[in-house]
């Protein structure tokens, strides 16, 4: 078990105009700019000005919908629809920032681990060691139809508790774990010093330091090695969102950071216990696995002001906003109280989901962060060069690394 971290870690989750469905109608929102690079650059620079450890960028293969488990895409015209590939957004903004970690979301159910491995390795080169990836499953008919090469049963959210639902989750999360294993093996497939440029022998690389990964799984086999040399962090950071058993297992076996959704401080002990048990079962007791609490945040000068904002947004949206995560509407000081309590209860960090962009992001960077700093809970400066460094994770050596003189 890891000891409590000296400070809490803080990330923000960026999605469209913000997490509230009516966010795009707020006065400071830029709904016409959601597909423009400048919009994303401004948001990530704002997050960096608040010394946040990283940003995540949401994504999905199918179009956004208010009901993710519905069979059909909805035909709403009053919601943000349309988005860009998160890995490419991440890459586009990486050269414009210097310190903040950048963690795009990717759907692993329909994509190739070989392609994703080199994309995230390249994001790590482009950002000089600030890349991560959040892996997400999508075992739904409407995602599968976009690719036309596999089928999934049409299950409602409630059906996930049925034997068919349990089976589906077991299969897709096991596939996701395989996927992460392939990512990590490919990142390790070049040892750090494989490129030798030895003019005397005419060899560009030492082939003994480049390794086949020979992964064989249920859904894919990957021979390797990667075509991209080992990235600056060795292993970019892997994250996953988890609400229950199978996803908790994925976090414990495969991730460096798990995003979880407690509603009360009391939830935290049972959630972390499940993740730690999975971590232990996977033989990862000596590794740090961060457990971050996800909270939707809507902040204002006063508690009443925040509640009024939420009411106004709900009215514009035509329904009270519901989320998988706790929706916090209050003051930055009140949020700092909550984070401090949950931090003490066992969460090492938080991924805040701003209800409205850029308003709630600015509340985080300009009001919450100074409050946390005043309480000694957050850092005063970036002091690590990489995202792993910011999270207190060591740079791993390649699993294939051999000692001097030993044949590979």
């Amino acid at each position: 078990m890891s000891a409590p971290t000296p400070r809490l870690r803080l990330a923000v989750a960026l999605d469209g105009a913000g997490w509230h469905p009516a966010a795009w109608r707020e006065p400071n929102a830029r709904p016409g700019d959601l597909l423009k690079p400048g919009y994303w650059a401004d948001l990530v620079r704002e997050a960096e000005s608040g010394l946040l450890d990283f940003v995540t960028i949401e994504d999905s293969l199918s179009i956004q919908t208010d009901a993710p488990f519905a069979t059909e895409d909805d035909d709403r015209t009053d919601r943000v629809r349309g988005r860009l590939d998160a890995v490419l957004v991440a890459s586009r903004i990486a050269p414009l920032t210097r310190h903040i970690g950048i963690v795009p979301t990717v759907v692993v159910t329909h994509t190739e681990p070989f392609h994703l491995s080199k994309a995230i390795a390249t994001l790590d080169y482009v950002s000089r060691g600030r890349a991560g990836v959040r892996v997400q499953v999508a075992p739904r008919p409407r995602d599968a139809a976009l690719f036309g090469r596999r089928e999934f049963p049409d299950l409602s959210y409630a059906d996930l508790r049925s034997p068919a639902g349990e089976g589906l989750l077991r299969e897709t999360f096991a596939e996701a774990a395989d996927y992460v294993e392939v990512l990590r093996r490919l990142w390790d497939s070049w040892e750090d010093d494989a490129e030798i440029r030895d003019v005397a022998t005419g060899r560009f690389i030492d082939r003994d330091k480049i390794h086949y990964i020979d992964f064989e799984g249920l859904h894919f086999d990957v021979k390797g090695p990667s075509i991209t040399p080992r990235p600056p962090q060795g292993q970019p950071v892997v994250a996953a969102l988890a609400h229950r058993d199978r996803p908790f297992e994925l976090v414990g076996t495969s991730a460096d950071v798990g995003f979880v959704t407690p509603r009360t401080a009391a939830d935290i002990a049972s959630i972390t216990a499940e993740i730690r048990a999975a971590q232990s079962a996977a033989g990862r007791d000596d590794e740090t696995v961060h457990v971050f609490g996800d909270v939707v945040v809507l902040l204002d000068e006063t508690e009443q002001g925040a509640q009024d904002r939420l009411a106004r947004l709900n009215e514009a949206a035509g329904a009270a906003y519901e989320s998988d995560a706790l929706v916090f509407a209050g003051t930055p000081e009140g949020l700092a109280d909550l984070l401090a309590t949950w931090h003490a209860a066992g969460l090492s960090g938080f991924r805040l989901r701003p209800a409205v962009l850029p308003d709630d992001l600015r509340q985080i960077t300009q009001r919450l962060v100074p409050e946390l700093q005043r309480r000694g809970l957050f850092h005063d400066a970036y002091d690590a060069a990489t995202l792993r460094g910011a999270l207190g994770l060591p740079r791993p050596t390649s699993r294939y690394a051999t000692t001097e003189g030993t044949p590979a």
Partner: protein
């Protein structure tokens, strides 16, 4: 075949682009001026030099498995490359006008995902994305992908053609006026279900809603690189530009006439398809110095060890004991179908190996060349060698004589090797009035002088 040399028309404007060479044996990595081929700074430097030279675009090739020869990873050339989409998106942040062209194969990808990535790249670069559609990937490469295996040649073009059709359908699902984002009325979309599509053909059964709204260019600019009959027809039917290997006057003209002649059959006009061969260059103060420098570069590119490896690729057998300074082997090439070189597209292009070997032997004997010298001679591809004046006038002459519409330059040193061309040749082309002095358009399609895509 005679090529009409039209003198009554205005001078053609030359298109120039630059290829950041990835895995090859032409990059002289042993030169002290050679930098990293993987650090992002190298790509930034290269792209910014190309943009300083007002080039239309930069180009990245693709490779999805490390090459092998005789069962071992090939270690003599530059090895390792970054992910194409990721690098191009990052370069969009540090350039303003330069087109961003990437090779993405249609075998180990799916149309929905690739269409989404290119549409995203086009948004993120404000309209500078281009896709070089390729088909030929083998079972060896397939071992890295869940699709696995590979398709027979004919089916690969079938998949490539339907893949591009499917991607085009996805790009065209959004017309471009759907996003109102009207805060007052609460209407984000003007219509309920933009992006809806169904596409069913011999290769794909896909449906749903495409989730990237129409990008600045509507579709990326489409490149095609194949040289076979199917490849030429595919380009004539679908491509905006063709990336060829015909960088010499005669074969360039033959290729130009052939491919442009195919356009009409597909209801397209002469100017709807640009022909842009890859070209190398060796630039020095005088022509004589350039010739000498070119010889030195060739010897750097073909070391004794590389000569043996290239020899093995034609002979398709182990020749590791052969003396590179001696004559060509007396043993004949192996007719074995299992190639000694894996993951190298050129290894398949040797055709009749015995005939080719006889040709090499004849050259070797006639000129009294050693094995290495023969390889240097027969694998040479340097296109433009000379002073800046010579190179500028040669390129201009070739383009005016319809051997090409422009060239994709491949320097032998990365990332800085393009700079001498930009600094010394580009100004001469500008003086001749055949190259731009400022970017004309905001999108790549505009800079290439291509029409808006029709739907």
């Amino acid at each position: 075949m005679s090529t009409p040399h039209r003198t009554d028309r205005p001078k053609k404007q030359i298109h120039l682009a630059a290829h950041f060479p990835g895995v090859n044996n032409t990059t002289v990595w042993s030169d002290p001026a050679s930098g990293s081929h993987i650090e992002f700074d190298s790509f930034v430097e290269f792209a910014q030099i190309a943009e300083r030279g007002l080039f239309d675009f930069m180009f990245l090739a693709e490779g999805l498995r490390l090459r092998e020869q005789a069962g071992e990873i090939y270690d003599l050339d530059v090895v390792g490359r970054p992910d194409t989409f990721t690098i191009l998106a990052a370069l969009a942040a540090v350039t303003e006008h330069l087109g961003l062209t990437g090779t993405i194969n249609s075998t180990f990808n799916e149309p929905y995902e690739v269409a989404r990535q290119f549409a995203s790249l086009d948004h993120l670069s404000d309209g500078r994305a281009a896709w070089n559609v390729v088909t030929s990937w083998d079972a060896f490469t397939g071992e890295n992908f869940r699709r696995g295996g590979y398709l027979p040649q004919g089916e690969r073009y079938e998949r490539a053609r339907t893949f591009l059709d499917a991607a085009t359908r996805l790009w065209d699902t959004w017309k471009g006026d759907e996003i109102l984002a009207d805060k007052a009325s609460g209407e984000f979309l003007s219509t309920p279900a933009p992006g809806a599509f169904e596409h069913h053909d011999s290769q794909f059964d896909i449906s749903g809603r495409f989730n990237v709204p129409r990008s600045p260019q509507g579709r990326p600019v489409i490149f095609q690189a194949g040289d076979s009959e199917e490849g030429r027809d595919f380009a004539a039917a679908k491509a905006d530009a063709i990336f060829s290997r015909h960088s010499h006057l005669d074969d360039g003209q033959r290729f130009y006439v052939d491919v442009k002649g195919r356009l009409e059959r597909f209801g397209r006009r002469h100017e709807d398809l640009l022909i842009l061969p890859a070209a190398t260059f060796v630039l020095a103060d005088t022509d004589a110095e350039a010739v000498e420098l070119a010889r030195e570069i060739r010897l750097q590119q073909v070391s004794p060890a590389t000569a043996i490896k290239l020899l093995e690729q034609l002979w398709n057998r182990d020749l590791s004991d052969h003396d590179p300074d001696g004559p060509l082997p007396t043993v004949d090439p192996s007719e074995n179908d299992d190639l000694i070189a894996k993951g190298r597209a050129s290894a398949r292009s040797h055709g009749d190996r015995l005939e080719q070997a006889e040709r090499w032997r004849a050259i070797s004997q006639a000129k009294g060349l050693s094995t290495r010298e023969t390889i240097v001679e027969v694998t040479g591809r340097q296109s433009f060698i000379g002073s800046a004046e010579t190179i500028a006038s040669t390129i201009d002459d070739f383009v005016q004589a319809d051997a090409a519409d422009g060239y994709i330059l491949v320097p032998h040193i990365t990332p800085g090797g393009l700079a001498p061309f930009v600094d010394h040749v580009v100004p001469l082309l500008q003086e001749r009035g055949v190259f731009r002095t400022a970017y004309e358009g905001t999108t790549l399609r505009e800079n290439l002088g291509l029409r808006e895509p029709t739907r």
